[in-house]
Symmetry: C2
Subunit: 269 residues, 2 copies
């Protein structure tokens, strides 16, 4: 039912190869012919069949983006940015959420590999071995972690942590708690390293709490601990945990200062 290249060729009186070139290499076809072909294509509602094109060129023009958890507010902006960048290059982003479930990850890796030209991976705790396996099947770029031999894009979370600690010590805080991220995450290690170093430099005390799940629940769980500790400021691994912590402290009866006060959190994934 949908129009094929052949229909367009017939309608415009040229060979299918000319129609093909009209779309994929316009400079090779006479402007006059080109506009006639385009008119017929438009009229018939023709759109090149992606499957056929992918079959012969070996490129799908799709890029996979694997994220750990879409519901984590860290990801949406990243997804949007990737989509926008892809769109401008005539690619599409294929987002998938693993829920950090190894079974899902495993299956995804193979399923995805066959239908995308490359994969962006932002899943801090996916196992290295799975990542290496994936990288053998498809070009891979990892985000916010480092895997030897693979290209990666990382945020300077260390710098962020340092700035946050400096801000807090600048406000006079001498005892800061770091609500740490999950075990095995590169950003988590990096933040801890940088925060610890910054605190030492400023001669302040920094207590690391964790590792924790990078979720609201992970924050709630440390509320009591944070309070007992007597720290006057907390640096949280990410927004969700900060929210959870505030919630936890609140329900213990220890309200967090509001916006104008001196408690602060920075975020990363």
């Amino acid at each position: 039912m949908p129009a094929t290249i052949r229909d367009v060729a017939r309608a415009s009186g040229v060979h299918i190869s000319t129609v093909s070139r009209t779309f994929s290499a316009p400079h090779l076809v006479n402007p006059e012919t080109r506009s006639r072909v385009l008119a017929c294509a438009e009229h018939l509602g023709y759109r090149p069949n992606r499957a056929a094109r992918a079959l012969i060129t070996g490129r799908t023009h799709n890029i996979g983006l694997i994220v750990a958890d879409i519901a984590n507010p860290f990801f949406p902006p990243l997804i949007k940015a990737a989509e926008s960048a892809a769109r401008h290059r005539d690619y599409h982003i294929f987002v998938t959420d693993t829920n950090e479930d190894p079974a899902v990850e495993e299956e995804l890796v193979h399923a995805l590999a066959k239908q995308v030209d490359g994969v962006l991976l932002c899943s801090p705790r996916m196992s290295n071995s799975l990542i290496e396996q994936l990288s053998r099947e498809v070009p891979l770029v990892v985000i916010n972690r480092q895997v030897t031999g693979l290209p990666s894009v990382v945020m300077d979370v260390g710098q962020g942590a340092r700035l946050a600690v400096e801000h807090l010590t600048g406000l006079g805080h001498r005892h800061i708690a770091l609500l740490g991220g999950p075990r095995g995450s590169w950003t988590s290690r990096e933040i801890r390293r940088a925060a610890t170093a910054a605190a030492r430099t400023a001669d302040a005390e920094l207590t690391v709490l964790g590792p924790n799940q990078p979720t609201e629940h992970g924050g709630i769980g440390q509320a009591e601990h944070v309070h007992r500790l007597g720290a006057t400021a907390v640096l949280a691994y990410n927004d969700l945990m900060a929210i959870g912590l505030i919630e936890g402290l609140d329900s213990l009866g220890y309200g967090c200062p509001r916006r104008s006060a001196s408690s602060a959190s920075t975020t990363s994934r």
Copy 2:
């Protein structure tokens, strides 16, 4: 480089059609042959080429999911649910975010149509004409809106609004503000309708504020208005707007009650 069905056929000494059947209709092939083929396939790392398969069957086993804005916390759970349901049926969900940009929507519609078997659409303000156009190219299900002639899945936001208003009037509130959603959204109309009716029934006053952008900013913008109004409770269209409103009131110096107090909001998209 990647192994094809032919390589597997050669390795296992059968015809390619047998290999094909091993994967797509296992019951048609002798168990003995089948396991030999599977072993060879495994060994060669063979995976059926999705493009070739799609080309001949006309099915991609992909489903598109168009959402207005991934960053709106309303969507991630919806996306996850769709992905999970799809996964169990051996389908993949292809999420795309339109940013409610008509140009993006327009382009997407066509680009997507050619590479998915169907589309789930949850974009409250996409134009009806574009939706109808899309529905002519690909099977379409709309979410949280109603378009004549198209199957749809809607939440009972009216019921939610009614319950919220009843809750508030039950607590004694006589004057409630409804921080309304965007113009042209089905859920927005529905909530207004139900909330108004519920307020009338309870003999309370309900003032509708809006339409507004369904964002934090949309909430912030009505803060002053809400305060001037003297309403004792506010019902917000969604979480983002509620957050924005609280923020706005806060910066005007009118703190919102915390969790234990009687202000409430319900959410929808």
